[in-house]
């Protein structure tokens, strides 16, 4: 394989209910910068119908090529059809890279078509850097629970496939450019789709689990002594009119549900005030809080990485500091 014969960086445009998912546009914006560095063309791949107004949002990111795919077996996402579709498209057009949003569907099919091609696949990069010496993309990602950063490359094979979590990159459209539109027909036999959806039951709207837009967030990290000490953090969150969240290890310990996990693999938040109690500050978590106006960190370890990212830091026992905060906030009211 001569990797230099592979050109164009692709972004898969995932959409649901007629709306493009924000992660797909975030990836277009980030890939635009990569293409500028590499002198390559940015191409968006849309499967199925999208309204003109949505297509405009893709073009605004500086996409220069749009592949619109229509055909049977594609109406609803299935791993079987989308794996074969991307295998065929990659063989036909030979892109240098394919970026896919790290959603449940994206993470299901991207590694699978990479395997079928075969080529290398990476997941959860937090930085993408084009290396002009090698012509490779450096997928830089937190490893070992965020304790180190690893540079991953695909030095020989093409395309370079990567799934990227929602919220990792910013949506900053670079402006429209002239765009070539290619209509691609692909029919996948319905009988070869091996999964079928029988039912979907939306979660009951539990507002306490919806933390993405909270103005105030109290986050408990692995320093939390146990579930029995959670009450004060709930109380503090309530006093502030905010929500309780947690880091991944707190979920792993079975104390709080996954929907409250803040960070790269969980929810990305942007509150006015973010209060981190007993949070070590692993990259995976910090990635999800950097857009907060104010970050307050409370940790008993003065060396904790979280103090590098905070606006204000207090070294001390998380429970004691929380109790003092509750007492003083109550006294003010």
């Amino acid at each position: 394989m001569n990797k230099y014969e592979y050109k164009d960086m692709w972004v898969y445009i995932e959409h649901s209910g007629g709306k493009i998912l924000p992660v797909s546009l975030e990836l277009c914006c980030e890939a635009r910068k990569l293409c500028d560095a590499a002198g390559e063309t940015l191409c968006a791949v849309v499967v199925g119908e999208l309204h003109r107004s949505e297509i405009e949002r893709i073009l605004a990111c500086g996409v220069e090529k749009l592949i619109r795919v229509s055909g049977t077996g594609l109406e609803r996402f299935s791993v079987d059809a989308y794996t074969e579709l991307f295998t065929q498209l990659c063989r036909k057009y030979r892109p240098s890279a394919v970026l896919v949003g790290g959603t449940i569907d994206g993470r299901d099919f991207a590694p699978r078509f990479a395997c079928r091609l075969p080529t290398g696949c990476t997941s959860d990069a937090t930085q993408l850097v084009y290396d002009p010496k090698t012509g490779d993309i450096e997928f830089i990602e937190p490893a070992v629970g965020g304790k180190m950063m690893a540079v991953i490359t695909v030095p020989v094979m093409r395309p370079q496939v990567g799934t990227i979590r929602p919220g990792t990159f910013k949506y900053l459209p670079a402006g429209a450019r002239p765009c070539e539109v290619i209509d691609e027909r692909f029919d996948f036999p319905e009988e070869k789709i091996r999964t079928e959806v029988l039912d979907f039951l939306p979660d009951e709207a539990d507002e306490s689990l919806n933390i993405a837009d909270a103005e105030y967030i109290v986050c408990v990290g692995n320093g939390l002594k146990g579930a029995d000490t959670l009450g004060r953090y709930r109380e503090l969150a309530a006093l502030l009119g905010g929500k309780l969240g947690c880091t991944r290890p707190v979920f792993d310990r079975g104390i709080l549900p996954y929907k409250l996990v803040i960070g790269q693999s969980g929810v990305v938040v942007k509150p006015r005030i973010y209060l981190a109690f007993g949070v070590s500050g692993a990259v995976n978590h910090v990635t999800g809080i950097t857009d907060s106006d104010v970050i307050v960190a409370v940790n008993r370890d003065p060396e904790a990485a979280i103090f590098g990212y905070c606006t204000y830091g207090i070294v001390g026992d998380m429970d004691e500091v929380c109790d003092a905060m509750i007492a003083q906030l109550k006294a003010k009211v």
Binding site: C121, M148, V151, M157, D203, F307, A327
Partner: protein, 264 residues
């Protein structure tokens, strides 16, 4: 009778791993190796499925000889058969090369109706193995499964609930099917003393690159891995914020709230 496979991994307990501040490399010494926690949920789902429908559960892993310990843990928790793929030639494999070795070896053991995997490993955490194993098994794929509802051996289907972002989906897939399991409803059982004792001396089937017939050496280990890790480094330290040191929790909080006054 269902033939069930569970793919597991032994991982360092990353919460205890330290990083050498100078070299940026992992200090693994003294860090216990454990069964990847989410794999224990996958095993539990597999064993409960076996208990309901009959059949057998095989666990398979690729790793150093010590990974046998993770397999014994699985045997204690209800697995019937354990297979270890261990060879220096397997080292430095990415998910593509690892899935190749596991599936090539698993095909020697029989044909599996259901394959269970954890969502991701604690250390690598790419979450890619399941998709690539499913591809190589030519299996259908259901991720984020929180409940296995029904296996219909006549119709060759499995029905399961998937825990998605906005709700629970019920989906049906043709066998063979690979499922990744959520921890929600599959808390691992605590082995009783008898099964734990039995697992200590149980036989573990071993394969090396020489004893897996037809294994293509170009597809294993480092040569078979299209992704490379040219370097690692410690995360950059943030610029640091203002540390409040007033001498007591109460005074620290007072000073903090004064600074936050216009934000509250």
């Amino acid at each position: 009778m269902l033939n069930i496979l569970v793919c597991v991994k032994q991982v360092p307990d990353v919460n205890l791993v330290k990083i050498d501040p100078v070299t940026g490399s992992l200090i693994r010494a003294g860090v216990p190796a454990i069964l990847n926690p989410l794999d224990a949920n996958a095993l539990e789902a597999a064993v409960r499925t076996k208990e309901k429908y009959g059949g057998s559960v095989t666990v398979i892993t690729m790793g150093p000889d010590q990974a046998a310990e993770a397999l014994r843990e699985c045997l204690a928790a209800g697995a019937d058969r354990a297979v270890l793929l261990s060879d220096r030639a397997f080292a430095n494999a990415d998910t593509l090369a690892t899935s190749y070795v596991i599936v090539t070896a698993a095909k020697l053991l029989g044909s599996f109706d259901l394959i269970f995997c954890g969502k991701e490993s604690l250390d690598g955490a790419t979450g890619q193995m399941a998709s690539q194993l499913a591809e190589r098994f030519d299996a259908s794929q259901l991720s984020s499964v929180c409940t296995v509802l029904e296996v219909d051996e006549d119709k060759r289907t499995v029905t399961a609930e998937r825990e998605l972002a906005l709700g629970v989906e019920t989906a049906r897939a043709l066998l063979p099917c690979l499922m990744t399991v959520e921890k929600t409803n599959y808390r691992p059982r605590i082995p009783n003393l008898k099964s734990w004792k039995a697992s200590r001396t149980a036989a573990i089937e071993m394969f090396t690159s020489d004893t897996i017939p037809g294994l293509d050496r170009a597809q294993i280990g480092d040569p078979g891995s299209p992704t490379k890790v040219p370097r690692t480094y410690p995360p950059e330290k943030g610029p640091g914020g203002e540390m409040i040191r007033e001498g007591s929790a109460a005074k620290d909080v007072e000073a903090l709230l004064a600074r936050l006054a216009d934000k509250l």
